[in-house]
Symmetry: D3
Subunit: 330 residues, 6 copies
């Protein structure tokens, strides 16, 4: 696929062409691969745009999160487009898969630059679409948001983050790794710390120093314990209310390590005491419904570590579909 | 074992003969294999009857659920007969294991016919017993219920179903597979759709078309989300109340895929966002207590996919024992 | 893909379209999916034809061998077309993938009938091609050979079989299961027992009764122990020499359970004491080189049981490529 | 390490020496190995003392729980000392690791004697420290408590136990195995049954006979079902209140099999229907905060059975850190 | 089963009773459980006697080898009695399974004593049978041989050992563990070092000190490298020739760790560079054929560590059947 | 450890300090960590120097080979220093572990530069030692050799490579990844293609283009098939003879993917049809014995993919010890 959008969106070919007149029932029948023959103008109307970001060599620990975009697409055929809980059919929306951002094996800065450029291209073309980036490790979030900022420099951007970690590590130690995206965005001036809301921190997985940095920069965070007492959905709604009063656009980033390790064996950084599946899905649905949430990503899911029946890959896919359901319910 | 009951109940030999006078402590000491030397009349008094239904070649996806009856029996020695939560000892009831329904390797219709005949034979002989069928895939439910109907044609039968799916697929596509049992029963006139209650539907695992069919036939369903808000136990009680006002006999079918995949790695069709173990056990206990529930099955558990310490096989066994506890508490 | 060949060859879409002028380096770039737009006449010139036969519900034990055709195709991208041992490039030959034979969920006889019809269609159209069937369980071999016989009724067919078992079980027990294909062919008059050569029998995996049946029918077999002493390649050459003196066409069937279980963890029926990888590849190469070997299959490989790095799926793919290398060296 | 404390504490060398002036951030930087060169008097001030008790050949079922002390220490580097939920930094407390109690391969009574002696030595030297024993199987609890009693004979000791089992089996059957520690303590006169509180019993994992023995001896137990209704934290607080009115010192024993098997795949005796991670951590935190809880252990976690990303080893480590957090919050 | 032989042979019940007149085809149909109702005199004629020795708490490393006797018996149904390589049917011999030697959970010396007593009882009763002990860890060999010596004190006994290790560790370190059986026999005067032949030593798995002890005591050993050059079968034959010139009875002990770890993932002590399956089976067959080999054991196979399709359990079973084949060919 | 050698050799602390006067029996007792307090001059006499090179983010596929240095060191305690095959004790040589080359998370060129500098430092200091680099992926070989060249610019260097691949990919595609080291060395002028000998190529794992490049540059390669016919040891000896006639120093690189995947499940790039363990060990021993082989590495072993009993980690360790044995036998 030679995309008309942007040459950096690499060639990713897809297996399916929708037969004439058939209504899609499964997700792989619904989401259409973009094609060089497509009409650029018409493509702009896509409500959902999926882009794979297969980068995990920037991860502190050895990671196979680069394999998630492929695993994610293969999982589609296990899901219908119809959401029974909300009685809505996602197939009534249009969704495009623009393939993967191309990566380089040994030049990580170039990979990061490619992501920024792809994000800029996507947000410039798909002005009103919801762009969903499928990671990859968490370093990609800084790049996707930088690209969004380049495409829409006039907009003030805020972040809603589900995470067990602050991801505010000092980049002078090891560069823009998966431990740094939030600090990266603050230090590069793209975002204010006060426009960041992190839900899910808990336990012994952040240093005191990072907490102090977060406080200093005004980063908002609600520990999982407090979120649970208030209700995850209620917590998310309140964060979104505060955020939307301040910013034009909200970017949702779901670090799958926010989950309890019992629910996410394929996320090596997930921990005991994290969120349950039901809690995360509730939170993501609430986020998806908010009109200012215009982009999202799912990161740090390593399919190579998942167990045999692939519970984590399925859960990652469910997170995406739940977000889209929220969009549809707006 | 050549059963006096019915030649189709195949020879299944058991390892244990209860030593004289010893009170059983473990489940494998309590449940007695039926024996050709047994007194037919006395056997009728058994309160619980277990039958294995090792068929899964009728499953849409490749399945090893046929191995569950054996795995289930091997798991018995890990459970005592004493239920500490309720302070009751199941060993005060009599329980018989009549072995497995015989299956054919390449003739699936014959397998299904065998199940119907076995069910008829069991329900004709064990008129007041609770017959517990251990699957196997979900196609067996239609056959067990058809057999029950043959044995007791005058009774109106209702179904309480724990499931992530409607199981209402069109049989004209692929025959009576594991996706079809509920439609099979409706279309064959054995049951009314309005006498079916499904608890546990959620997410993206049913097409809109199936939902429309369900609505058309008046099938009752309570999504997991709604059941959670009301309380699983409360939901089950209300379903049973409605059902028991309409029917004479209630058949309980537990499709293990109703569980969240984190709790049931040995159920390939289980999904993220399903029931927790505690929720299912609560629901099954409530069902077991209802006087009109006279038969049940446990299906779609594939021991070949379970993880090393066999959490799913143990959970399937726990579901059975919890049902029996309910029966004892009636 | 609606095949022009035969409506029973089902729609199987492929991910790759070869860019103009690029020489294929990897196997997935080389083997072309057949397309309804293709020129039927030109397609006949394909030297290699691959067909998937995803049937394993006819297997005595629960099996996921039905998943091998897909796993096989996904494995292609891990192999180049260039064989360094022989310094030949398979890409100089033309190869087509005609997709999978369509299967029914609950009607096994119909599945078997579909395979026969597909085989007839393929052998009628691709008269000079080597047709390679990717199973599936061993029951498919009888069907593929029956189809070949229908397409070329005038030809006398012989079989070269790599197997730990005779596969001569009595069909009156359980129908045409994976334990019966050789007897099926003898009893249906398609082949003479004396035109069958089985290499690899060993150990305690066949009953005496089957050995007596084999002797009675004149089936030729060389135990692994004897083949090893003579040399696998030498053994294969001698079998082919004997066979080719008697028959017009030789069908090669590779039951992957001929391998030692250390080499084939994804073949549940493989055993301790079986062939090594090197031995099997030597044997298959020798078979591939013989001008009368015109069709082959690979069966009983269950990817669901393979270990994490998929040694058995890779080995199955290597067997196919080694056969094709033999064809190229003719 | 030749400990000055007691020759039975064996040589266990550690990899880390804290660099001058650096504040520890990770647990492995914080907990200091005791050294023969250390000042005995100063060491007494340690607030937390860790001792490994790698014995599991006394387990009824084959167990690798003897490997947990090593796995536990290796897991330290995955945890920071800073607890974000409570905003406390454990590094402000002093913690010592005194190595492992030496074990004998074939003389289990000697192993048990070694544990008693080590416990006496530790409690005599570290009079005000919290001694944390890392098992090993549950038989070690009886020995640790016996040693504590020897060190402080004047004190009345009570036990708070998280467990799926009573652990009150008759020692005359198979000696002081992992099924017997509570009975061992009652029968040896070290404790009164009435000073024992067990939280977490449920399901079909105890015989009626053991329940009767518990009743006879006045052992207090709260089933998981009842604890859940009241709230785990509330239940623990009430038990501690009752216990502290009766005894001088409370010993906390955490049998990891109290957890639901979905959360603890590395605890072969864990069961469906057990505690969630969140529940156990809540209970342990409450216990850690009580001023009379002066010693604790974590038992029956078998790292050899854990799944690839080691959820159970991480959870066991989290339990320890949560207990220490409680101590810090006193 | 209350054995008439010896009260220490514990109750082990079996699933199968041979139907009248049916010729056994599978191993589980052939080997008969001994029964208290059996005729003692007639039982003496059994040519093969199997006894389980489920002890592995005497193992240096945590081991589940105690589970092998059960796994071994469950594996029987995967093997026929007919050996195709040699064209002999084991079912023509009589074989008895006398159950397991009873074990104690916390008293290892008593376990060892039980094994000695059981061995004495078996060799006294089954004077001409081949007694096959299924371990368990290697410490059992010393006990089985001591019992044999007690039963037949006048006979000089020699040992043929397949092993990666000398198993000559000093018992004063850790008692009669699995590292000591050969030294145990030498030091207790039951055997001369010169009557021991060890085949399979290699690599870096024995200390120099043990080699010096072996030399001092005249223990014979042939490294795997040298055995390979000569041929395994030839090596075994020469050892047997030397041994039989010196002793009356030869005891064969197969430590499964002699295998290369690629062939034996279920033997944690197996190593890279060990024997192949084919080599071990050749050696065992040769040993089985020698008229002076009257007892054997198979040790150190831990089914809990085996991979999913159980290659090691199957291999252990194959070793036993191959030995019996040798006996039949005498 | 602050090394006096070179600040780039990072701090790696070790667990063991050899007790006074004790002769080491296990490998972890023998290999000494270098210490800042050590005497630099004395250290130069070390015969064996181990350095960890934990880089695998330069790998084409997601790889955890960066974890091998740690896994390798942990495996030491499972090996004795005494080689029974050759009757030599490695403990008579001196061996140092200088820790790991420090790596950066997101700057791969800097990682490569660090390796070059470390190699230069090591070869400058340990002039006569054998430097053994433990990878990491194969990209490290180019860096280790470049560093060696910098330290000894006057010497002509040759390479003996065990590999399934040429590793001659074009660096202009993806930089100096694990597919390129040999081409890297040729193109940077460090080595002549004619001074490279590759043993082990086979199958379908190299493109024709790479073969043509190899031929063009005069790279010597012996396919596994040809090496087997001649004998691996004989092949290695002949390569060494040819090489030593041309060069001053030979560098041995062992890419573990040369092994058959049945022997090396922890090497994702290993393939069916590769070397057996015995063959590789034979080859490595022969290489170790040659006086001109002065450095070596072991690469591409990913412990995260290894199976439970860690056969591949053990095999990698065995390869190292076998090389050292060769050195000792010089």
């Amino acid at each position: 696929m030679k995309s008309f959008l942007y040459p950096k969106i690499n060639s990713h070919s897809f297996t399916w062409v929708r037969p004439e007149g058939r209504i899609p029932e499964k997700v792989h029948e619904w989401i259409q691969p973009i094609d060089s023959a497509a009409d650029p103008e018409k493509s702009k109307e896509a409500e959902i745009v999926v882009v794979g970001v297969p980068l995990s060599r920037s991860s502190i620990s050895a990671s196979g999160a680069s394999e998630f975009p492929d695993a994610f697409r293969r999982a589609w055929k296990g899901f219908t487009t119809y959401n029974l809980d909300e009685d809505v059919d996602l197939a009534e929306m249009t969704a495009l898969d623009v393939g993967d951002v191309p990566m380089h094996v040994t030049d990580i800065p170039r990979c990061h630059e490619n992501i920024i450029e792809a994000s800029t291209a996507l947000h410039s073309h798909f002005v009103n679409s919801k762009v969903c980036a499928i990671g990859g490790d968490h370093s990609i979030t800084a790049m996707m948001v930088k690209g969004l900022k380049k495409a829409k420099p006039e907009e003030r951007i805020g972040i809603l983050q589900f995470d067990t970690h602050f991801d505010l590590r000092d980049m002078s130690d090891n560069g823009p790794s998966n431990g740094t995206p939030m600090r990266n965005l603050i230090e590069s001036g793209v975002l204010n710390g006060t426009d960041m809301y992190n839900i899910g921190l808990h336990g012994f997985f952040n240093t005191k120093e990072l907490k102090q940095y977060a406080d200093e920069k005004g980063v908002n965070y609600i520990t999982l314990g407090r979120a649970r007492k208030k209700g995850i959905e209620e917590t998310v709604l309140q964060c979104l209310e505060e955020l939307s009063a301040k910013v034009d656009t909200i970017y949702l980033t779901v670090d799958m390590d926010v989950l309890d390790i019992a629910y996410a064996p394929g996320v090596p950084a997930s921990t005991p005491g994290g969120m349950t599946t039901a809690e995360l899905l509730d939170g993501v649905l609430a986020a998806g419904r908010h009109p200012k949430v215009k982009a999202m990503d799912i990161v740090c899911l390593d399919p190579l570590k998942d167990t045999a029946v692939q519970p984590t890959v399925k859960l990652g896919t469910h997170v995406f579909l739940t977000f889209v359901t929220g969009v549809m319910l707006r």
